[in-house]
Amino acid sequence: MRHRVLSLALLALAVLAMPAYAGQGVPKPLVTIEQPGECVAPPEVIRRNHMDLLKHQRDKTLRDGQRGAKTSLNACIECHASKKTGSVLGSNENFCQGCHAYVAVTLDCFECHQPKTGMVKAAGAKP
């Protein structure tokens, strides 16, 4: 009897709590386009295929030495880095991290690649 009361109470609590979640889910990522204008491809293509575009290009650049391609990770970062932090990572408001956190996909590029802009001068390298 005691158990039944307890489980009923829990059920009631759960039902009461429902409207708070209903239709809300995980909040959609906040994608801020820092430099609105022409991207290298339409947003729907980029959304679905950006990883393939980057992967295809990385082999050509690294192995064949083809520089100045349309799709390069550095070019993405230059346009999309947050104006506040100068990075595409750091918070869920930032370009790469925002979406990747939403879809729960690990973002491995930046284990090696530099997510910040303006590092060229800091590293002492000439652009």
Partner: protein, 253 residues
């Protein structure tokens, strides 16, 4: 296609447009129906990539290399954002190092920089189990960090001890020189600069310091400064007996 009211016309228009686009892209010049002359299209700057006609190399004049001078090492560290390992100096990455040698009998001292020798027959490439270690068409030996699993076979295979393993998480990379924990790395001959027509950072620093002990260029270009120098002065490769044909040559050793 399904939306087109006349599928046949749609297909023809599509094929025609594709053929025209292909012809324009590849630089075909139609002389007569069925006869075409292929013209090399002018590629976008930098998009032609590494050419096998070029063999990048370096000549190091040890008679000009100053004992104690580490300008090349410092320039390399700045350019490629190489910082000493925190707490474990022995684990720091080393793309270029200075070596001081003394002949015991004569007391003659020489000083030279040692780095990846960019072999024509690189043993690091032979032993790599994943194909991450590779040689570019223009002779530059690199590590593809996307496929490197950090097994360090290449470090054992290299007779010049040119490669390093990254033990720690890095955050301050040069955007043009991606580096990261868990991968093997070595001198890239400043490939990102060479592709822009610049000299490697070490060579630039050596010239700037006034020693001018390092000369970079295309070994295959007979009219170039480096090919002329190696044709007229006696130079040697380190451990030439291994027949790896290094692209880095030394004078005065």
């Amino acid at each position: 296609m399904s939306e087109s009211p006349k599928p046949e016309a749609g297909r023809r228009a599509f094929l025609g447009a594709t053929a025209a686009a292909t012809a324009a892209g590849l630089g075909f010049v139609a002389l007569a129906p069925g006869v075409q002359l292929i013209r090399f299209a002018q590629a976008k700057a930098g998009m032609e990539g590494a050419s096998s006609k070029v063999r990048w190399g370096m000549l190091i004049d040890t008679t000009r290399c100053a004992t104690g001078c580490k300008e090349c090492v410092a320039a390399c560290a700045t350019e490629n954002a190489i910082e000493p390992s925190s707490g474990r100096p022995g684990q720091s990455s080393q793309w270029i190092r200075k070596i001081e040698l003394k002949a015991e009998k004569t007391g003659h001292e020489i000083s030279l920089p040692m780095m990846c020798q960019h072999c024509a027959e690189p043993p690091c490439v032979d032993v790599c189990p994943t194909g991450a270690s590779f040689k570019r068409a223009d002779g530059i030996v690199l590590v593809d960090r996307h496929t490197c699993i950090g097994c360090r076979y290449c470090m054992m295979a290299c007779p010049y001890k040119a490669r390093s393993f990254v033990h720690e998480t890095l955050t301050e990379q040069n955007p043009e020189v991606p580096r990261g924990k868990g991968c093997v790395e070595s001198c890239t001959l400043c490939v990102h600069r060479v592709d822009k027509g610049q000299q490697p950072a070490c060579v630039e620093a050596c010239n700037k310091s006034g020693h001018e002990a390092m000369l970079f260029g295309d070994l295959n270009d007979a009219a170039g400064a480096i090919a002329k120098r190696i044709a007229t002065t006696p130079t040697s490769q380190v451990r030439a007996d291994l027949r790896l044909d290094p692209g880095v040559r030394y004078q005065g050793i």
